[in-house]
């Protein structure tokens, strides 16, 4: 059993925002770390308590804590989330998960529904590989191609991504603390995480989600195409889907204002709270 301090350190948990506010837990997806939320969280800091963390093996988490067995399925990551939530004793959690973290959050919420108030899924997909009538968007070969991509960029990633702070007078808000650690991960762990993510299948779990859920769907998202977002909405009882103008897979980075507005609308909507 890890102590509270050990859990928070393992996942590089940072807590900010309003001390007595309802907690919003932001979870990054594959390929990034908690910094990907930095254009979104400021909008919520006045009203909510903001909790950010890195999955083990990403960002500044404790890479040594990576255990291939534990993290061999998304359930392992969900357990981490629950450990963080318990360590901070969070209640009424609004869980905002990007990409694969949508599913991780869903698994956590199914395990301990009492702690979660709602789920926000940004670009979710319950399964990436096509199967029968189900369109996930990718073939198995495509996923092997991704793993090759990761391997090709291994030699580049392994010796710290060269610092790429713009030092740009136009963007003083990108502070010096934003270093090249962003999107840096242990290459072996990245490969495993990619495998676990892109070979996962959580379609059967969707029906068991019992908290209010928002799906943010980007137009032209290759990773989580519209048909998948609609599948998720149709499978989660009572969920709603917001089509965004933003394109690509990371609207929290490419269209933060639109993302914030969509989440805000969802949070402010009158809802029966159990």
């Amino acid at each position: 059993m890890l102590s509270m301090a050990e859990v928070l350190e393992r996942n590089n948990v940072t807590v900010g925002g309003r001390v007595d506010g309802q907690p919003m837990v932001f979870a990054h997806g594959f390929g990034c770390d908690q910094n990907m939320w930095r254009f979104v969280t400021p909008a919520f800091e006045d009203r909510y308590r903001i909790v950010l963390f890195d999955h083990v093996g990403s960002g500044h988490s404790d890479w040594k804590a990576y255990d291939p067995t534990r993290y061999g399925t998304l359930a392992g990551y969900a357990t981490d989330v629950l450990e963080i939530v318990r360590a901070l004793d969070l209640r009424d959690v609004i869980f905002v998960g990007h990409s694969v973290s949508s599913m991780i959050g869903a698994l956590a919420a199914m395990e301990e529904p009492d702690r979660f108030a709602s789920l926000v899924m940004v670009g979710p997909s319950p399964r990436y590989i096509d199967e029968g009538d189900y369109v996930g968007g990718f073939s198995r070969e495509d996923i092997e191609g991704l793993l090759d991509s990761l391997d090709s960029n291994y030699l580049g990633w392994s010796n710290t991504m060269a610092p790429v702070i713009m030092g740009n007078a136009d963007r003083p808000q990108l502070g010096a603390e934003l270093t090249a650690s962003f999107c840096r991960a242990d290459p072996e762990i990245a490969r495993h995480f990619a495998r676990v993510t892109f070979l996962s299948d959580n379609r059967s779990d969707l029906g068991r989600i019992s908290v209010p859920t928002l799906i943010l769907q980007c137009s032209d998202d290759v990773i989580a195409p519209k048909v998948v977002g609609e599948y998720v909405r149709d499978s989660i009882p009572g969920s709603e889907l917001t089509m965004m103008q933003a394109t690509g897979h990371c609207p929290n980075l490419s269209a933060p204002d639109e993302t914030v507005a969509a989440i805000q609308r969802f949070l402010d909507a009158p809802r029966d709270r159990v």
Partner: protein, 385 residues
Amino acid sequence: MAFAELLEDSAEDLYENAPCGYLSALLDGTIVKVNQTFLRWTGYRAEDLVGNRKFSELLSAGGRIFYETHYAPMLRMQGSVREIAVDLVCPAGGTLPVLLNAALKYNADGVPVLTRTTVFDATERRSYERELLRAKKAAEESEARAALLAETLQRSLIPPALPKIAGLDLAASYRPAGLGDQVGGDFYDVFETASNDWAVTLGDVCGKGPEAATVTALARHTVRAAAMRGRRPSRILNTLNEALLLQRAERFCTVAYARLQRVHSRWRVTLTSGGHPLPIHVTADGVAATGRPGDLIGVHDHPELHDTRMELRPRETLVFYTDGVTEARSGNEFYGEDRLLRVLRAASGGSAAEIVDAVSTEVVEFQDGMTRDDLALLAVQAAAL
């Protein structure tokens, strides 16, 4: 000289025919400008790309996922990316491995409006990197196999289990140096030469690694063979000495050898040492090294070796050890013979296993757990009546 003609003052020419590909795109990825070099390398036509295709569409499916999960977010967060390896899909089929650098272009309000990408043909470099990765994997596998081999070899050089001898209690401890991934030079053996006639040998071949291991194997088996033909310990070690010189192994070893004969209920011991620390005789009344020192084995043509006779009475123990024990270090200090005698005195009432355990635990602790030299211990205790 018409120097002026050589001056490259045509920016357009510089752009179009640069030795790398240039590509500019909107933030949603739509290609807005592309240079001739890029078109030539890939086989695309400008009209197919500009305003019509997104950059990520030119990547393989795996590359597209990588683009969306790593490349694009990084570009947004940091303003630029460098040396990203991707494969471009060419219209005629086939792929072109490339390295990309990209940077965001900002407007006057600091808002990003375009991405600018340089594309380097990385066909050669990618092949080279693949080879490197393959070689690295092969090397790692090779290392793993070598470690396994060393471990297997090691296990074959130490008797896996000591024989059960009526009237004698035996125990041994062997700890290879460091991480145990190198074969060591310490060896020991206990074997029967005739009815109620046993041989105990413990030795140390100088060095580690496969060459030392071959000498270790030679030593152990030569001693066994010699002990079958003659019983006198000094003669047996002489035979070993000859064998090593003949082998031109250019390695010497130190060996302690004891013959134990059971006569009625007592054990008659004949000892010899070839350059090896003398075994310690542990009794209820005291502990002391016993025997006479002799020459190293494998160095001289006629080594000086002496046979010492003694008796091992009930509950008395003979403890053989290698210098991994006495030369264990902690900082500038050696463990030394005094400490060994002290711990043996304290453990003298125990069984062979307890004695061996007491010593090896203390020595390992003394070295903060990391053994720098092989450590071998063998205790032979005459059973109580």
